[in-house]
């Protein structure tokens, strides 16, 4: 449990270390770290912030808007210099973000945007729609523009689930021979994706492709297809570019995944926060989208943990 000591050490490092002068607190709030994507995000932001001489507090809201609101309250009452937030819902997060801004604390959103502008100082969002289209495009090509496919959707109450699903549809709908035989939510969960995929396979084994809203679900599907012994006949595409998925791509179990440069977004958010704290402006547009990159067997070696090496 290395993460246990990190906060303590970091606090002491930055207060103890003379850099504390520049310091002040940057609160980093993300969804649950049991998803490697958010952990990578948080770690990157934390590292950057401490390298710039800030104290950090890392917390996760587990996609509970109320808990997020509480964490922001905490940051406010601790007079944080800035909040780096991967939010818990495009609508549910508007209130809390406004609260922080009015409390004089600049908020820098990463990964997910909110349905309001002019409140957060920056919304550095990996372009889910673009990434989804990228993934779908390569999915279609791998399937030679025809065949039956299954879509595994993320938690229905999560914006990215619908954005990505729409991105997939935008592309695939252009190919009349691509037939969607099932669309099930697996709540971002691997075991659930596994179970549902198995059940779907019972309806028909005549399936050539599976496209999933994130890599965890894609890997669940892979396991199910492997168990059914038809993995080699099925094209599996995921989203996120998690290390596990990249490994699966290398192993040829998955065809591709759209990598969100989590680290990049997080670090640049911290840089802009630093800018804003020092100069009062970020010098950038509020809405900044970072394009996702497609990871396939050919370029898989070029990628590390949610970032190019």
């Amino acid at each position: 449990g290395g993460s246990a000591q990190q906060p303590a050490t970091s606090a002491s490092a930055s207060t103890g270390g003379g850099t504390g002068a520049a310091g002040g607190l940057i609160a980093i709030i993300t969804p649950s770290h049991d998803n490697p994507f958010f952990k990578a995000e948080a770690d990157a932001a934390k590292a950057k912030a401490e390298s710039l001489g800030y104290q950090t507090s890392v917390a996760s809201h587990d996609d509970d808007p109320n808990k997020q609101s509480e964490l922001i309250d905490a940051a406010i009452s601790r007079q944080a210099k800035a909040i780096v937030l991967d939010n818990a819902g495009a609508d549910a997060s508007i209130g809390p973000v406004r609260k922080a801004t009015e409390g004089g604390i600049p908020v820098f959103l990463i990964d997910r945007e909110i349905n309001a502008t002019g409140i957060a100082k920056a919304q550095i969002v990996s372009n889910n729609s673009q990434g989804a289209q990228l993934a779908a495009q390569s999915f279609v090509e791998a399937m030679k523009s025809k065949g039956n496919y299954v879509e595994l959707v993320g938690k229905e109450s999560d914006t990215n689930a619908s954005v990505r699903s729409k991105g997939f549809a935008d592309v695939i709908s252009q190919y009349p021979d691509m037939k969607q035989v099932a669309k099930e939510s697996a709540n971002w969960d691997q075991q659930e994706a596994f179970t549902k995929m198995e059940t779907i396979l019972q309806k028909s084994r005549d399936i050539q492709g599976v496209i999933a809203g994130n890599d965890t679900m894609a890997l669940g599907a892979v396991a199910a297809l492997k168990a059914a012994g038809i993995l080699d006949k099925v094209t599996v595409v995921g989203f996120d570019g998690s290390p596990d998925a990249i490994a699966a791509v290398k192993a040829g179990e998955m065809h591709a995944t759209a990598l969100q440069p989590a680290a990049l977004g997080a670090t640049s958010a911290v840089e802009q926060a630093d800018q804003f704290i020092k100069t009062g402006k970020t010098g950038k547009e509020e809405k900044q989208s970072i394009d996702c990159e497609l990871v396939t067997k050919d370029n898989a070696d070029e990628f590390g943990v949610f970032a190019r090496k």
Partner: protein
């Protein structure tokens, strides 16, 4: 043989009086101890973080406690009766969704009607009470075990919330002055006399609950039903009504909590309140209530809610990793209850010791 005659064990009256005093002292000691547990928590966090003991932070944390406390007060009544209510978390979500739906306007025939905020609030609480009523009905009429009845309703209410909202979050519940349905936000963001509304609501409900339990006949009936249902029944306590009412109240409290959350976020998500039932139960039990019923106080429950809330926020402020937070929470729940058990046993041992002392007198 010789018929021996011994002095009867001393006259009972004043001895039992003495015991009564000793017990009440112990109870106070225990109440104190729960407070002390909280105090210790506060001191530790206060020392480790300079921002913890600031007035704004204490207010903020209390505001967070309020939500769990409101649910826990309803849960306390159910537990006093010897039941349990697993459906409160789902009711939180459902009530928020209903609020979102209503503030979005009711399609009556062709036109869209925008009910004023107070109507919305009343309706949401009514929905919560309705779910509670179903729980009560299942428990009293169909004698389904409370755990199962409310477990079922946990799914039903959550499913309903999802279906009504189609899984989507209701954005912007601020309302429009044009439609005369503004003001919903005040529930969460209002600060009468400098304290957030939710804290006032918690205080109000706590006072009501105290009056209900300590002063009203219903309170007596509830404790009696939890303490010895048969005796209560024979004495003419309407136990079925008592049981049903506690579930209805619990539902109402959960609905109110749901409204507070929706109002603070000025948006309502159908998945809001997941696993809140566990926090509420934990608060009640840490507060010294017995799941078997008949034992528990409002004061204790509040302390329990504060212990859980301050613990959570404190760990965040200290930047303890989420993973440790989970583990520590579990440990604290167990320890707090073992503390209570310990106190119980201590009571008994004390009495036993007295007995031994008494023996010495005799021979």
């Amino acid at each position: 043989m010789t018929a021996t005659t011994k002095t009867p064990a001393a006259v009972p009256a004043e001895r039992s009086a003495a015991r009564a005093r000793r017990l009440s002292l112990l109870n106070v000691a225990f109440e104190l101890r729960a407070f002390i547990a909280l105090a210790v928590l506060i001191v530790i966090f206060g020392l480790l973080s300079d921002s913890f003991l600031t007035v704004p932070n204490l207010i903020t944390m209390t505001k967070h406690v309020a939500i769990n406390a409101v649910i826990a007060l309803g849960m306390l009544l159910v537990i006093l009766k010897g039941g349990i209510d697993l459906s409160v978390g789902s009711i939180v979500g459902l009530s928020g969704v209903v609020a979102g739906e209503l503030l979005g306007g009711l399609h009556v025939g062709g036109v869209i009607a925008y009910p004023p905020v107070w109507v919305v609030i009343v309706l949401c609480v009514t929905v919560g009470m309705a779910v509670g009523a179903v729980n009560g009905l299942l428990v009293t009429r169909f004698n389904v075990a409370p755990f199962i009845a409310t477990l079922g309703m946990l799914y039903v209410a959550r499913g309903a919330a999802m279906l009504i909202s189609d899984g989507a979050t209701y954005p912007n519940l601020a309302g429009h002055s044009a439609l005369g349905n503004t003001g919903f936000g005040l529930l969460g963001s209002g600060r009468p006399l400098g304290l957030p509304t939710s804290i006032w609501i918690m205080i109000a409900l706590a006072v009501l609950a105290t009056l209900l339990l300590a002063k009203s006949p219903f309170g007596r009936w509830l404790y009696a039903t939890g303490g010895n249902e048969r005796a209560a029944d024979l004495s003419g306590v309407p136990i079925r009504r008592v049981k049903t009412i506690v579930y209805v109240i619990s539902g109402a409290c959960a609905a109110i909590a749901g409204l507070i959350i929706a109002s603070e976020l000025t948006s309502a998500a159908p998945q809001a309140g997941e696993t809140y039932e566990l926090n509420a139960i934990a608060a009640v039990v840490i507060g010294g209530a017995a799941l078997s019923g008949g034992r528990g106080t409002v004061r204790g429950t509040l302390v329990g809610a504060f212990v859980i809330g301050f613990l959570a926020d404190g760990l965040v402020i200290l930047g303890v990793s989420t993973f440790w937070q989970i583990l520590i929470k579990g440990a604290v729940i167990i320890l707090a209850v073992m503390l209570d058990q310990g106190q119980q046993r201590f009571k008994r041992r004390g009495a036993a010791a007295a007995a031994v002392a008494a023996t010495k007198h005799h021979d």
